[in-house]
């Protein structure tokens, strides 16, 4: 057994043991799905958009991944003061191994959480258009999970205490979500909003996932994949670098 594996395993154990956390982070996506999906559904259909729950589901799955991933990154702040992180930072292993184990563990947890949200969507009436493309959907979910966890790791490594939490929520997590085309289609947007969506890395995740589940990629599957893969790699490198600079 090596350091990366046991740290990955630790994240998974923590997830499966904390049922409250699991249920808590399911609440928000479910609420969005039900309230928006059924609340705006008739209007969306009248405007010629089709079935809104069908459109919305990939966005909600992305939301589940985003929230779980970013928050497990932010856990670093707490963990490095009162938790297990300090113990790992003086252990005879490199920071890179620690950040890899931790990030892959959190990303796996986020992927599982996304899968559960996907099942909730199925229960709410969502149906994938092309079941054969489900592995592609899973691949996009994994990339989204890695990218978002890396963002969380980067932010969690820089912040000194929990005071910045609200800031992260309002200036990183929610904008990423709202301007990602998770809730609305891109083509008819006003210029500024469309630009924001195009610049938002998460948009490519939502688009890739929506394309794989519903058919029809707004940006093209190759673009989605390339942008997401590249950004996940870059953000992972940034997260690892910032993590290596943490002082306990």
């Amino acid at each position: 057994m090596n350091a990366v594996f046991i740290l990955w395993l630790r994240q998974l154990k923590r997830y499966f043991r904390s049922r409250a956390r699991m249920a808590g982070s399911l609440g928000q996506p479910t609420l969005f799905l039900l309230a928006l999906g059924f609340g705006l559904g008739p209007t969306f259909a009248r405007a010629g958009g089709g079935d809104y729950v069908q459109f919305l589901a990939p966005g909600i799955v992305t939301m589940g991944i985003l929230f779980t991933a970013v928050f497990s990154g932010i856990e670093i702040i707490w963990d490095r003061r009162f938790g297990f992180l300090k113990e790992t930072l003086v252990a005879p292993v490199s920071r890179l191994e620690i950040v890899l184990g931790r990030t892959l563990g959190s990303a796996t947890v986020a992927l599982i959480q996304g899968t559960i949200v996907f099942l909730v969507c199925l229960a709410a009436g969502f149906r994938p258009a092309e079941p054969l493309l489900l592995p592609l959907a899973l691949l996009f979910m994994a990339l989204i999970a890695i990218m978002c966890t890396a963002i969380g790791t980067a932010v969690g490594s820089v912040l000194e205490d929990m005071q910045g939490f609200q800031l992260i929520m309002n200036f990183i997590v929610l904008p990423l979500f709202f301007f990602s085309s998770a809730l609305f289609p891109v083509p008819d947007l006003p210029g500024a909003v469309r630009l924001a969506v195009r610049l938002n890395p998460l948009s490519y995740g939502v688009d890739g996932l929506r394309g794989a589940l519903n058919g029809g990629f707004a940006f093209g599957v190759a673009t989605d994949f390339a942008v997401l893969g590249l950004l996940a790699a870059i953000l992972l490198a940034i997260g690892a670098y910032l993590f290596s600079k943490i002082e306990v």
Binding site: A3, I6, R10, E87, V90, A91, V248
Partner: protein, 268 residues
Amino acid sequence: MTAPAVIEAHDLVKRFDGFTAVDHISFAVPEGVIFGFLGPNGAGKTTTIKMLTTVLTPSEGRLLIAGHDPVKEPLLVRRAFGIVFQDPSLDGELTAAENMELHGVLYRVPRTERRERIEALLRFVGLWERRDDYVKRFSGGMRRRLEIARALQHRPRILFLDEPTAGLDPQTRNQIWEFIRTLSRDESVTVFFTTHYMEEAERVADRIAVIDHGRIVAQGTAASLRQETGGRTLEDAFITLTGHSIREAEAAPIDRMRMMRRMWRSGR
């Protein structure tokens, strides 16, 4: 006191943005002794421990930990010591045995040896029967005992303890020191600790250094410090050496978080 030194500091300096936290300190800790590092709040104790344990890089000076330079060979130094931090560092969502196991894997203790060590040490600190319980259900004293057992798992030559008894009741404090004394003897480990409780340092430490304003103001045994200052107890000697003024440190983020943590825990 003729054993070779296992910790050596020569003219050690640490500056943060113009502020000198540790100012040319030198000391040596012989192998096998229990060394007390005392000083008021903000005197430079924790900064020194951080430099000794590879977490902070010294601005100046020379350090040797178990024969290695913490800046050049951090991994070799890390293998040579175990540490119990001032703030808890266990994973509450894991069991006592899992916390031990994680440490063993990180320190590359071979599997069979890991099992033996985990059982022996958990038995020693009286937690073997509770090995499969989640650490979040443990009392403060139990957690400390587990942290000490964990820190010794990879057979370090040095054990660092940063205020190991802070916040514990007198019975538990006594018990913790009893463990530390026995372990220092049986495991032949050198112990380097800080504490606020002078009577504990007086009772346990073979050698003491007092640090204030980043400088070492006295070194010796508890008896020699009392003699030097004409104090009746080590506490008298400490106050003679460091003065009566109370140190008001600015609240750092860590203090705010400690407060949040206390409030949060007491609310449960």
